[in-house]
Structures are given as structure tokens and as C-alpha cells.
Symmetry: C2
Subunit: 509 residues, 2 copies
């Protein structure tokens, strides 16, 4: 990666590329650097400029990879974007487990201060969750928490981080079998088992499709000192439920309060990797820096989770080739095939993912966005492929299937066991995901300065000389600190009350 | 409708029926009444008992209509439910606009006290809404409302009912065209125009698919004294947005506070008809009583909206035959055909709607549930068929397409312009739908007594002698009172913060 000009910086990501990335707005006459000619059109920061003439139908290369094809003849020095760059075909060979990289185990064993749970897992927070089986119990979950707040129920339980209602829009008006039901079931039982909860109260209405009795029957959810449940209809209505919940919450608080932070190995971290509101710099600053941090965690025996299947679409060959086994590679291709069917039968297409904000930021095609997104996952072998919200049972870098939609993807990762989220953003996503802390990485300094109260780390300085390695180390150290209890920016702001968004698959009925 | 026995009441809904409804639990040996033999098995209240032997393959009749077919030979006096009753075929002739009923216009013009809006519509409440284009703006909408609460911003604006954040799980990770996008677009613009809002602040993140600039460009949403908007990314992050929103909210409060209740004709009411958590009595007590009230409103020139397409499935012939024109009837059949495709391509089926709670309450098939659901719509001609969240532009009884799922269906009705909701329930649904008040009708006295603080009207006394006509009058009078400002039970409890659930159609990406 080299910056070709001091005054009008242009970044060439790979020597084979026929486009470069503008690091600042370019004007006609600006030098492309190193005797490569002049810019001929205005090019916004983060957008692409052609380094050579590119004839219609020719592949456009960035990261040394195909990001699409020229839809018209493009002269050198031109702005390359939606008007002259399209998807074209993108057949790739999917080499399975052929390029297995090595991650050398770390010599030093790093630690953080966490909550050791009876399950053997370690929490980074110690919340009491009020889970809801259905939207129709959401208001009551809020009322229960509001009364507990007003009566200062937690006053004598200083080890508990808070009581948080987890509400959502589904749980009924759905088939009682099939992938939609199973996905929500895994999500709710996964939350109930996330180690960032010290205790759980689950509230249902009573007549919903997603029955509490079925959820409670699920293996592992039943730990009567730390898990309790009730329904509004059996409890005699709203006020009776809210009142009956208070002594139950108190009993749960007594249990949850027994937890104390104690040293835990970095290997007990399960980190969800995320990006949202990406721009043209995300894939060259924040994402590869997070990739370095992910590799450092994996070297400690920790787990990092890449997701957002719709956003890696077209770049899956980069993952299959480094799968730990051919079966793991095949599992990813299975999910990709499922996605092609899922979008087709819903009259969608896989190329419509870059949002208006992404496009304004300079990302033209899903291939380009995917190549930038995959950079978050560093270089470690892909050690497993999991369904959305499926419990993740192994160390290393793994993939969990999910949409790219941020709250939905994070919800799946937390259900899968993530006790920390690290989230890169270019446009400036502001969000939090209780019970799991979220660290925000800004891809550019402009946005970081504009939204400093929302951003934990500025990765924008990578374009002015900070190395990816140094930034990756900084992110990794911050992960251990936040895991140990230091609040992240979004936690300080109070985020997390509405961002539980289970993936709704199938017909609403 | 006749009660055949005093001690073990059994209700025969139509002389042709081969099943009766148990109004109390029946035991073997109980008299079926009027020399019709004895009960041979325990039958829970609300469930069906056979009046005659029914041989396998024979139609089972209730309301004089087919609700399914016997899947085995059923002797007289037996419990008839899922174990011996299935869907079978249910081909019906769809007579179009052939049986047009007459609703005689009322001689007296009833009134309520409402908020007359510049649009000509009349509100029953006067809220300031904080609408959100995307989930990623939901927390900020809440923070904005929390600061306004803490600073008592509304203290000097006594005519304003409150500041309510309207958050949801969608707005990004979706196609930017097609029915999923259009449905959410109609829902958000419909809320912005609902007359129960005195003013609107719309907040977005900035980079989402559902762009505020596109929403604001929509005809009718731009009324700068009562509609304002902002994005988190343009405003400089969370805290800057929350701060900048406060003076805007104050300006909106000044405008909203100018509204005063004044007499309005009952014809200005647009009432969403709903049922949720139905039981075996819903279709014979609360629903037909609401039908009487709906006809009284229609006689005044008001509008009542039936929805829940998946729950009228199989009973659509009852609606097409009373459509005001053949085109209106055809429009309903179009929606039914769309639903058959929608569920099929999502691997669902139209018969899986009765929830576990419905089934415990005695409802076996969707046909049976649908016949009971349609009773809410009284006898008026069907004057129009609308898409989900489409503005309703005419008086009379109309149909708006939606899932049966309560929060999703009500959300569509409020977006279509409903300024009042009336909701029947058997199992005991507790919910509210700000900005629109919701009246709850209990189908049975047991549940009413158990959940009296949640229920506005007990329709359970219909089985002990109160006439449908008297109960319908009671409901209609209460509608005018609640519309005039008397809080409904769910309003008194504070419901409505999480029940905004736009119909999510299509792939989450
Ligand atoms: Ca992403
Ligand atoms: Ca994302
Ligand atoms: Ca995205
Ligand atoms: Ca219903
Ligand atoms: Ca319903």
C-alpha cells in the first residue's frame, strides 16, 4: 500500500490495480503521482480514479481482485463509479482449504478481568436480562424494568450492571416450524445463555407461537437460581405481572450480585467483527486494522466471528481457500447457495447491498464492498461455519451466517455467544448492543473528529502513516480493557435498548 | 343462537351445525340439551362437541358454514378438535357483489371531541411523534424523548399528550425497491400523516436505505411548522443530535399546543377492527358485538377497517359477496392470491395460523377462526380494499390487507389513518398502539375478571343473556368517549412504546 502524492494523496492498494483510491477530493489537473498522468475529473475522497485507460468490458481491479467490469471505455484519470462500472459476471474458482495460513500461538498469555460463569464461559458484563418471547410482552418487560429503576432495586447489588428489557417485533404471526421459527428460537435461547447476563427473567404473553414452555424446555436454559419465567396471561394481566416480577428480580439480583470480576485468559473472548455504514476507506484502514487485532486474539486461543454473508458475497473464494478443512469451505458455499435462493424467491438480488451512504462513500459494487469487509477477518484459517445464532463451540476465526444489516447481524453474534463486538464504520454508525459492549472504529479522521463521542478508535490516521500493525495492537489492547469493564463510547451514551433485532425469515402471518 | 342447557350450557350457532360450542367445561354424561343425547368425553369450555355422529370425510359445520372435515368417524357427544377435524378442501364460490346489504344512515348525527387538523382529518389524540427511518436511529429517538422528559419540555404545553419515540427493527439491510421497501415507505409516511400526531420530528442515521430525503419528498409529509427532520451523521453524532433536537421539539410543541378539542362528527372516526389471542368465544361474543358497533359507525358515515388477511382466509366469500362493486371484490381475491404465493415461496401454508393459545381455546382450523374473525365487520357493504398502510380515502366498511399478527396489523391500520383501534381478545392480549388509543373487548367473563385492569369491555355476558345489539351500542358509545379523550385501559397502563411493527416483507440483507 503506497501513498503516491503528498499534496493530493492517492492510494494504490495493489500494483496490478487499474484504479487508485482518492484519499482527499481530487480536481482536474491533480497529479496521479509517480509519472502516472493527471486527474481529468473531480473525484470525491474515498472514490476511485482510473490509473490507466480501461476499455469497456474489461475487469476493474482493486486489492488485486476483480471488483466489476467497465461498462464503457474509461480514459486514464477518470472517476470510476456506478456510471461506468458494473457487476458483470464474477465466476471465481472456489479453492477449498488449499492455502491454509499459519497463526503462531502467542508466547505471552494475555488476560482480562471477567465474570466466570457456571457454564465455564466468561462474561465481560453482568446484566440481568428481561427477555421476551413475543412483541406482545415487550411493554410489560419495560414496565418491570421501570418499576425496578424507580424503587432502586439494584441499590444494594453493586456488581450488577443493570436490568435490561430485550424487546423485539416477532414471536407470533409466524409458522410454528421451519427456519423462521428455528432462527428466533436459537436467538432467544442464545441470549438466555450469553455469559454477559448474570441472570434472566423471561416474560411471555401466553398465547404466542413462540411458547415459553418450549423455550424453557431447551437444554441448558433451565438454571433455576439464575433463570425464571412468567406469562402475562397466567399472572393475571399487566399490573399483576409487573408486581409479581419484582420479588423475582430481587432473587435474581441476589444471585447475579455474587459474580465478581476475576482474571480470565484472552482465549475466553468471543468477538463479533462488524462493519456498518462503510465508505471507501473502511476496507483500507479500519477493516484491515481490525483484521490484525483478530489475528492477535486468535493467537491467544480466542474466537473471532465474521458474519454479514450478503456483504462477503463475491469474495467467498478468499474464505474457502483458507478454510481449515474442505467441509468447512463447503459449508460456507452451502450458505451462499441458500442466500442466492433466499434473495431470488424474495425478488431481491445479491448486488443491491451497497446502501446510498456506501455509494456516496465511493463503494460501487458488492464485490468491492465484500473485499473490504473480509479484511476484518485478518489472515487466520477459517475454523468453522455456523448458522445464525448457533452456539459457537470452538476457538479461532469462524464464520456465522447473517444478513449485513448491522443490528440483525450483531444480534445473531451475541446469541452465538459473543461477549464483545468490534464495529468499523465510515459514515458513522452510532449503536450499542446490550448486554455486549461494542467498540467503534472510525475509518476516517473527518468522521472521527465530527463524531468523537461515538467513536472509540480513529483508524483514519492509517492514511497518514500509522501502520496497520500498530493500529491492530491498539485495538487488541482496547478489547482487553473494554472486556475488563471500561465502558465503550456507546455504553457511556446509553445505547442498546432497541437494537435487539432477530433475523426475521419467512412470511409474517 | 340458543343456549340449550342451564346447568351445562352448550351453544348451537346455527340449526344446520353438527357441532355445538361448550360454554363451560363438559363432562361425560352431561346433557347436550333438548333430547339430543349425552356428552361422552370431557370437552373444555370454548371447544366443540358433536351433536350427531359425523362420519370420516364429512363436512363439519359451525355458523352454518364449513369449518373442515372429519378425519375419522366421530360419534355424537364427542370432543371435536385437531385430533379428528382437518382442513380438507375448501373450494367456495366467490360471488362478487351479489348480496349488497343496506346500512340505513343514522337519523341522529353523533359527535366526539377531536383535534381538527389542517388536512381536514380529525385526531383523537395530540402527540408529538419522533419517527425513525431506521433501527439505527431508535436509541437517539429515545434519548431525545428522555431529555425532553427530564427537562419537562412539555410543562407549559398542556394540550400535548406526550412525546413518543416510534422505533422499529428495519429501514436498512433491505432492497431499495420493491414491495418490502414500498411497504415500509407507506408505513412511515402514513404515521407522519396520522391525525393523532400534532407534530412530527423524524430522525435518521444518514447512510440507511430508507433515506429521510426520499421520505420528506413524499407528497403531504412536508408541513414545515409541524414536521421537522434531522440525521445523526449530519448533526455530528449522538449527543449533538440529542441537543439540537431540543429547541426543534420546543418549536413543534408550540405548534402542537395550539390544537384544541372541538366537536367533530362521528364520521371523522376511522376505526381499526382487530382480534388477537382469540378463543372459542371470540367469534360468538366479542367479534359480532364489535360488528354491531361497526355498523353503527358506518351508519354515521364513519370508516371501519377489517384486516388480518391470513385470518379471513377461507371465509373471503363472505366478504366478496357483499363488496360494493365487483372490482372491490376482485381486489380482495387478488390479495388472497398474493398471500397464497407469499406463504408458498416462504415455505409456509395458510392453515398454520391458529396459535397454540387459539387451539387451547378451542379453535381447530383457520376456516373456523376466519368465520369468527369476519364477524367483527358487521353487515355493511365492503366499500374498498387497500394495501397495507395505504391511505384510506372513503367512508364505510373497508378492508386493509395485513398479516394477522396483532402489532403488525395495527401498525398498518394506524399508517392507513386509523385514529381509534378496537381489539377483541379471548386469551387476554395486553397491548397499546401510540399514537392511537386501543379499546380492548374481552370475549369471556373469566378472562375479563382475571385481567380487568387490561380490558375495557366484558363481552362474556353475551352468553348469559346480554344481547349483541346492547353490547354493540355499549362499545359504540365507548368509542366516542375514548375518541374524545377518556383514556383506555392500555393507555392508563402506559402501553405503546414497542408495538410499532411495520410489516417486513422480503429478504433481510
Ligand atoms: Ca458490513
Ligand atoms: Ca453491517
Ligand atoms: Ca451494511
Ligand atoms: Ca385475529
Ligand atoms: Ca390478530
Amino acid at each position: 500500500m503506497s501513498v503516491t502524492s503528498d499534496t493530493h494523496p492517492v492510494l494504490v492498494l495493489n500494483a496490478e490495480d487499474n484504479v487508485a483510491v482518492a484519499l482527499a477530493p481530487l480536481a482536474p489537473g491533480d497529479d496521479l503521482g509517480k509519472g502516472q498522468g493527471k486527474v481529468t475529473q473531480p473525484v470525491p475522497a474515498g472514490h476511485k480514479v482510473s490509473r490507466t485507460p480501461i476499455s469497456a468490458g474489461t475487469n476493474v481491479l482493486k486489492y488485486g481482485q476483480i471488483i466489476g467490469r467497465a461498462t464503457e471505455d474509461i480514459p486514464a484519470g477518470a472517476h470510476v463509479h456506478s456510471h461506468n462500472l458494473g457487476m458483470g459476471d464474477h465466476k471465481q474458482s472456489h479453492a477449498l482449504a488449499t492455502e491454509l495460513p499459519q497463526i503462531v500461538p502467542s508466547e505471552s498469555a494475555d488476560q482480562f478481568m471477567g465474570y466466570h460463569r457456571p457454564s465455564g464461559r466468561v462474561g465481560t458484563r453482568n446484566y440481568i436480562g428481561i427477555l421476551t418471547s413475543v412483541n406482545c410482552a415487550g411493554s410489560v418487560a419495560k414496565f418491570v424494568a421501570e418499576v425496578a429503576e424507580k424503587t432502586e432495586l439494584l441499590k444494594e447489588f453493586g456488581n450488577v450492571d443493570g436490568i435490561i428489557p430485550i424487546t423485539h417485533g416477532s414471536g407470533c404471526g409466524m409458522s410454528s416450524k421451519g427456519e423462521g421459527y428455528e432462527t428466533l428460537f436459537r436467538t432467544l435461547t442464545g441470549y438466555a445463555q450469553n455469559p454477559n447476563f448474570g441472570a434472566i427473567l423471561m416474560i411471555g404473553l401466553g398465547c404466542e407461537v413462540m411458547q415459553i414452555s418450549t423455550l424453557v424446555g431447551h437444554e441448558g436454559i433451565r438454571d433455576e437460581t439464575r433463570f425464571r419465567f412468567m406469562t402475562i396471561q397466567q399472572s393475571g394481566g399487566t399490573r399483576a405481572t409487573v408486581e409479581a416480577a419484582q420479588p423475582i428480580l430481587r432473587e435474581l439480583a441476589v444471585e447475579a450480585n455474587k459474580a465478581q470480576r476475576a482474571p480470565a485468559p484472552a482465549s475466553a473472548l468471543t468477538v463479533g467483527l462488524q462493519c456498518g455504514g462503510s465508505d471507501g476507506l473502511s476496507g483500507i484502514t479500519a477493516n484491515p486494522a481490525l483484521g490484525v487485532a483478530s489475528d492477535l486474539l486468535v493467537a491467544q486461543g480466542g474466537t473471532s466471528i465474521l458474519s454479514e454473508t450478503s456483504e462477503i458475497y463475491g469474495a467467498e473464494h478468499l474464505l474457502t481457500s483458507r478454510a481449515a478443512t474442505p467441509d468447512i469451505a463447503a459449508a460456507l458455499l452451502d450458505r451462499i447457495a441458500w442466500w442466492e435462493d433466499y434473495t431470488a424467491r424474495n425478488f431481491g438480488e445479491m448486488d443491491n447491498n451497497p446502501s446510498p451512504g456506501n455509494k456516496r462513500g465511493g463503494l460501487t459494487t458488492i464485490l468491492e464492498k465484500s473485499l473490504g469487509a473480509v479484511a476484518k477477518a485478518g489472515a487466520a484459517p477459517m475454523n468453522g461455519v455456523f448458522r445464525y445464532a448457533e452456539p459457537i463451540d470452538r476457538p479461532g476465526f469462524v464464520f456465522m451466517d447473517s444478513p449485513g444489516y448491522d443490528p440483525c447481524s450483531v444480534t445473531g453474534q451475541v446469541a452465538s455467544g459473543a461477549n464483545l463486538i468490534v464495529f468499523t464504520t465510515g459514515r458513522g454508525s452510532a449503536s450499542g448492543y446490550k448486554p455486549t459492549p461494542c467498540i467503534k472504529l472510525a475509518s476516517n479522521s473527518d468522521m472521527y473528529q465530527r463524531m468523537e463521542e461515538d467513536m472509540d478508535v480513529n483508524c483514519g490516521d492509517i492514511v497518514t502513516g500509522t501502520t496497520l500493525e500498530a493500529k491492530g495492537q491498539e485495538i487488541y489492547r482496547l478489547m482487553l480493557e473494554i472486556a475488563s469493564g471500561r465502558p465503550s463510547k456507546s455504553e457511556m451514551l446509553g445505547y442498546g435498548a432497541v437494537e435487539f433485532v432477530p433475523w426475521q425469515i419467512g412470511a409474517v402471518m
